[in-house]
């Protein structure tokens, strides 16, 4: 038996078990749903690139959770101060009995160590941007596709305005405006500040950089929602013309119930695929922004900033920084992209029917 399929089905079984504890009739009522999920799990376990992408993503999420615990030195400890020889050591070199597998940077810090911290920042940024931006886009898209009329016109003009900007430029503008406001907010709410410092594994004295990271995230979320609003609106327009929506309306269901219980589940598949792709794109854009000099500065181990700083020593004295940090960013994005590529097939009902057909013939 395929181990991936086994893991996924046991998750499904667990969920079904929990639901049946709450309501005994649930598994019986939803048996077709459950078997469809299992078919999805089977289809996913058959796609090699999907499994590879899924494993990469799992690896990165685990690294994001435990990464800062693996790091053996603090990111704001600069060995160069004690011994200038530590500066820009090439990979696999040894100094004073310490071994640097990926070399050191201009402050003598171990690159591997910095990557452990950096992965958490990149992964958290990507999740927060999606959590902030996507629901906004989905809700506005649903409403504008369902209500039509003036509201639709207004929302579409608004997305036009946002899409007319190149995303990166708009994000630059927001990211250069926001930090001071966010800094004031964080300073007046120390509990929130400490919580996010803990999330990003930063030291308390670097809370000003937290404001820069936040402004990055909010800037990206603000440019992220229009794409989702467009897609959700287009699917909502076609779904809301169908008979089952008319039936729901004539039964007198409330608008919220129709929108979230009957329309949303029918349009969620392409949105999920897009989210998977975007989880890979956001870290790249965030790195690009901090490459341009927005976002946190020294000593926060943001991956894009590491590359932009090493750019001034490139290529003779810092190729290893660009290669190793670049590979990390590349693999993170690649994992999500591979996963999204196979999810697109798995979530497409046509693929599953074709699969059933094949199995049935055998």
């Amino acid at each position: 038996m395929n181990p991936i399929y086994f893991v996924l089905t046991s998750f499904i079984e667990l969920y079904v078990f929990i639901r049946s504890k709450i309501n005994e009739e649930w598994p019986l009522k939803n048996s077709s749903k459950i078997s469809e999920w299992k078919l999805m799990a089977f289809a996913f376990s058959q796609s090699k690139i999907g499994v590879f992408g899924g494993l990469l993503v799992t690896l990165f999420v685990i690294l994001a959770i435990i990464g800062p615990l693996l790091a053996y030195a603090k990111y704001d400890y600069f060995p160069v101060v004690d011994n200038p020889d530590y500066k820009l050591l090439p990979p696999n070199s040894e100094l004073e009995g310490k071994r640097f597998i990926l070399g050191t940077d201009w402050m003598g810090r171990d690159i591997l160590n910095m990557i452990f911290y950096g992965i958490r920042i990149s992964v958290v940024i990507s999740f927060i941007v999606i959590i902030l931006g996507v629901p906004l886009g989905i809700i506005l898209g649903l409403l504008s596709g369902y209500l039509k009329g003036h509201f639709d016109e207004f929302i579409m003009r608004l997305t036009d305005i946002f899409l007319a900007f190149p995303g990166l430029i708009l994000a630059i503008a927001f990211a250069s405006v926001l930090p001071s406001r966010i800094y004031e907010f964080l300073e007046s709410n120390p509990y929130i500040r400490d919580f996010w410092l803990w999330i990003f594994a930063l030291e308390p004295e670097h809370s000003p950089h937290l404001a820069a990271i936040f402004s990055l995230m909010i800037a990206l979320a603000l440019v992220w929602w229009p794409g989702y609003a467009r897609i959700v609106r287009a699917s909502t327009l076609s779904i809301s013309e169908q008979v089952f929506i008319e039936a729901a309306k004539s039964l007198g269901l409330s608008k919220t119930k129709i929108l979230f219980k009957h329309i949303l589940p029918n349009i969620i598949a392409p949105v999920l695929v897009l989210i998977t792709f975007d989880l890979g794109t956001v870290p790249l854009l965030a790195a690009a922004l901090s490459f341009l000099g927005l976002g946190p500065t020294e000593p926060v181990p943001e991956l894009g900033r590491l590359i932009s700083y090493s750019g001034s020593y490139f290529p003779e004295r810092s190729w290893w920084i660009v290669i190793s940090v670049g590979t990390v960013l590349f693999l993170l994005a690649l994992g999500w992209n591979l996963l999204g590529d196979s999810l697109r097939d798995v979530l497409d009902p046509r693929t599953r029917r074709a699969m059933e057909f094949k199995v049935g013939k055998k």
Partner: protein
Amino acid sequence: MGIIYFIIRRIITFIPTLLGVLLISYIVAYVIPANPVRAWIGGQRVSDLELLERIKREYYFDRPWYEQFYFLVTSLLTGTLKDPIKNQPVFQELSNRFPVTVELAILGFLFTLIISLPLGILAARFKDTIIDFVVRFLALFGSSMPSFILYYFLILAFFVATKSTYLAGIPNPSVSCINYIDGLPSTLPIPLNYLSYIIVYIGKVPMFGATFCGELNVVYETFFRLWLPALSLGLLSGGFIARILRNSLLDALSSEYILYTKARGLPNLRIWYHAFKNSLIPVVTVLGINFGSLLTGAVIAETVFNIPGIGRYAFESIINLNFPGIIGVTFLFGLVYIIVNLIIDIFYGIIDPRIRYT
């Protein structure tokens, strides 16, 4: 006649969008807590308070925000808005920098086409073979590669190691050529006059101006200067577009009219022509968006390859709190978005005659 009405109607509906874009960028700039006038004339240690007051008055910073906004927009449209840091009209700055970006965008777009169209067709023809795999890989590579890292590696390979490009300056046609093109409208009779204005505007792009005067060495130098950034932009988007072309070609090939043409015994090339033409709609959409983003968003490429284009100017304006610059750039980007979308819509009609402009 329909198409002209369509274009006019589209332009009119886009005016509020353009104003909205300007307003949003103004509001974003307005909420900056820093004092921009101080930043323009040299930071916090400014002692010449009279100068400060004069600049404040000149840019309406002592008025309420709506008057300021009105001033910025009207003086931008009349061409009198001055860039406070460069001390020349914003329009001048834009018309110096935008042609460079246009050159880069055209070359990058050419590379995108060269990479994506053949690969997409081949991947559809040889489905599930090594070519198909290469296209899939290239698409994933393009969307997973951090752009600046690709740029660094290409610089390492083609500039540092093999010296097959250079990274400074932008070739321009000779002064006599520029003067000749600028003077064209005044030498011609009235009806031809308007035609020559178009040549003047196209001639502002150094590559085209040089071609017009027959200075082919300038064209060659421009290519030699810009081929590397253009290639890297093409590599980043080419695979993705090839994959879209492949999918939509496969969809078209499995449709019933293709079965019919096969049954009629049309030659293979003819069948592929029909399928290709009908599969172009999604490709044209993505290509159009891609070209638009090349015209506006290649900030990182311009930074790494040291190209004095419009993206770089936008970035510098934002960083320096250069309000007039921000408004000017925003206006230009809004225009680009509108025109590119209009061109996409017109292309739809050329590809698929069933589409009517209403």
